[in-house]
Amino acid sequence: MSKMTMAQAINTALRDAMTADDSVVVFGEDVGALGGVFRVTDGLHRDFGESRCFDTPLAESGIVGVAVGMAMNGMRPVVEMQFDAFAYPAFEQITSHVAKLGNRTRGRLRVPVVIRIPYAGGIGGVEHHCDSSEAYYAHTPGLTVVAPATNADAYGLLRAAIEHPDPVIFLEPKKHYFAKEDVDLASPVLPIGRAVVRRPGRDATLIAYGPSVPVALGAAAQAATEGRDLGVVDLRTIVPFDDDTVCAEVRRTGRAVVIAEAPGFASVASEIAARLGERCFHHLEAPVRRVTGFDVPYPAPKLEHHFLPGVDRILDAVDTLQWPDSREVTA
């Protein structure tokens, strides 16, 4: 067990994967000598050399397209998009090729590419430096979409993503990059596609992923002081979605709030709410609520705190879950 930041945990996962498998190569913008603008690839160029970790021309479509070709030729590229909102030039390559090549070739060419994306807000980034882009990727069949919430998960899930036979969009919550947590590097590689119950709760279930998980845990902690026992499910993987774990929790509590930073309309949060409606209806005591960002472009730092789901907004939503009078908070 050691204390490390998420940037260090991801760096360690990259190192361990590169050591374990010669076909793993890391490339992108500024990932070489600089170690990435968030320092996630720090020292990889020095320690593994130019053939394993290298800077590319400034061209996101190029980075992803070249990664597809390298994967066709037996390599396991792990590429970095410098920021979520700068990944869009690569969108064509991601949707038309990364996501489809396996299907178009009846599985003869798979694309074991990992696209790492510094993701979401909360760092006071100026215009075009934050976005919650998960819905674009989650909506694209063929992509696996992973969003770790803890530093330990960032390590275990990235190791799994690199070993995965299919392409993975790996969303790294930026606001966690420099926060220290305990990480057990002896822990096994985590399975992709499984959610985890971060906190069991009897009264209602909060469902979150990535940067919203600690916010949900904060809300649950606050609710506990007010006599309400809220559970928290951390999805870990958005696609494939772990219906089993999420539905089991919601069927137990009968109440659910889905929390995400992304604008709510046509979002992952909406998909989850719809699934719960379809699968858990007879167990529900109240409509599933969503606490999400507003349907506005990602706001500038001066307005960001109004946009991001916070503890109060979550608890307000929980309060609307049609509690019987007997269970109304009395404290």
């Binding site: 397209g65 590229p77 003869r108 494939p240 979605f241 219906d243």
Partner: protein, 358 residues
């Protein structure tokens, strides 16, 4: 960059005149090799005709013909070694066939199948690319990976004149040049992107001239001259194999038919323009030369035609039967292992289909 390098990117290189005579000062090509090239040209032409007929009979959904571009189709395949890769577009069916893939398999995608038909790993031919220029980056990736692994693979990446306006064309050439990737970019400039003429794509002195901005050689050749194409492409392949990086080759050619059967070229070009190119036919040119030098007698010609007819018959037979389609294939290859959601959806479709059958 020297004046010579600029000149070779702008002046059209040629070995065989339109009349079928050797350009003065050009060394005579090996006659047997050229007869083999001619055999491939005839086969490519026959494939274009056969595929067109199959569209009219409703056996193919659509066919972008390479009629008029057969010399390009044949040359880009014939200069490659077995371990090299070819990255074709929707228009390059004949090139893929020239590489040795069964044309029946190649035509799967254009028949409306959900997959590319052939196994890309067997003949080292990528699936035919439709999103313009996107495949050029994959070609660079295959080439760069080969270099990192110490393999001397060369990658032949095809695209059209219209595709040179796409961002991925630029990114691919730039990446390849920066990494000295072993890629030959081969642009078949057939003068049109559907209806849009070359003048609306670029005002550069030539498409090959674009290479100069990336720091790689650009070569412009007569795209209806098999002899010069094979020579120039083989040189570019040799450079790539020797670690000297990418080359951009532009073939000056013409799309004799409409963009596809669904298009109507009379809306945007004149018959006179098309007629001019009839006289530059790539198949006739080689035939005239070979006949003149006595390398192609009646018997040889007949054997070549018969072989092409045999290929056409096998294409007709292969596309004449409707292969059974398994609806569950919808879900089979989206992921290596279908997700729980796809397993559910597959089961739902199965129930729906069983209900229809009952």
């Amino acid at each position: 960059m020297s004046a010579d390098e600029l000149a070779q990117a702008i002046t059209v290189a040629r070995a065989l005149e339109e009349t079928g005579r050797l350009v003065p000062g050009t060394a005579a090509p090996d006659a047997d090799a050229l007869v083999e090239g001619y055999r491939r040209l005839v086969s490519a032409r026959r494939l274009n005709e056969q595929a067109g007929a199959l569209v009219r009979q409703g056996r193919l959904a659509v066919y972008p013909s390479s009629r008029g571009q057969e010399a390009c189709q044949v040359a880009c395949a014939s200069v490659l070694a077995d371990d090299d890769w070819l990255f074709p577009t929707y228009r390059d069916t004949a090139a893929i066939a020239a590489r040795g893939v069964d044309p029946v398999e190649v035509l799967s995608m254009l028949r409306g199948d959900w997959h590319c038909g052939y196994d890309p790993t067997v003949h080292k031919v990528a699936p035919q690319a439709t999103p313009l220029a996107t495949q050029l980056l994959h070609a660079v990736g295959v080439g760069h990976a080969a270099r990192l692994k110490g393999e001397d693979t060369v990658v032949m990446a095809l695209c059209g004149d219209g595709a040179t306006s796409e961002g991925d064309f630029h990114e691919a050439l730039n990446f390849a040049a920066v990494f000295a990737a072993p890629v030959v970019f081969f642009v078949q400039n057939n003068k049109y992107a559907i209806s849009v003429p070359l003048a609306r794509q670029s005002v550069a002195p030539s498409l090959a001239a674009k290479a100069i901005g990336y720091g790689m050689p650009g070569v412009r050749v007569d795209g209806n001259d098999l002899v010069v194409l094979e020579q120039v492409l083989a040189e570019a392949v040799g450079r790539a194999r020797a670690g000297q990086g990418p080359t951009l080759v532009e073939a000056d050619t013409y799309r004799m038919e409409s963009h596809t059967n669904a298009d109507d070229a009379t809306r945007y070009r004149t018959d006179d323009e098309v007629a001019e190119w009839v006289g530059r036919d790539p198949v006739v040119r080689v035939k005239t030369y070979l006949t003149a030098v006595g390398a192609l007698d009646e018997a040889r010609e007949q054997r070549i035609t018969a072989a092409a007819e045999e290929m056409a018959a096998s294409v007709r037979a292969g596309l004449g039967t409707e292969a059974p389609v398994d609806p569950e294939e919808l879900f089979a290859h989206v992921y290596g292992t279908p997700t729980p959601q796809l397993v559910e959806q597959r089961a739902a479709l199965r129930i729906e289909l069983d209900g229809e059958e009952a």
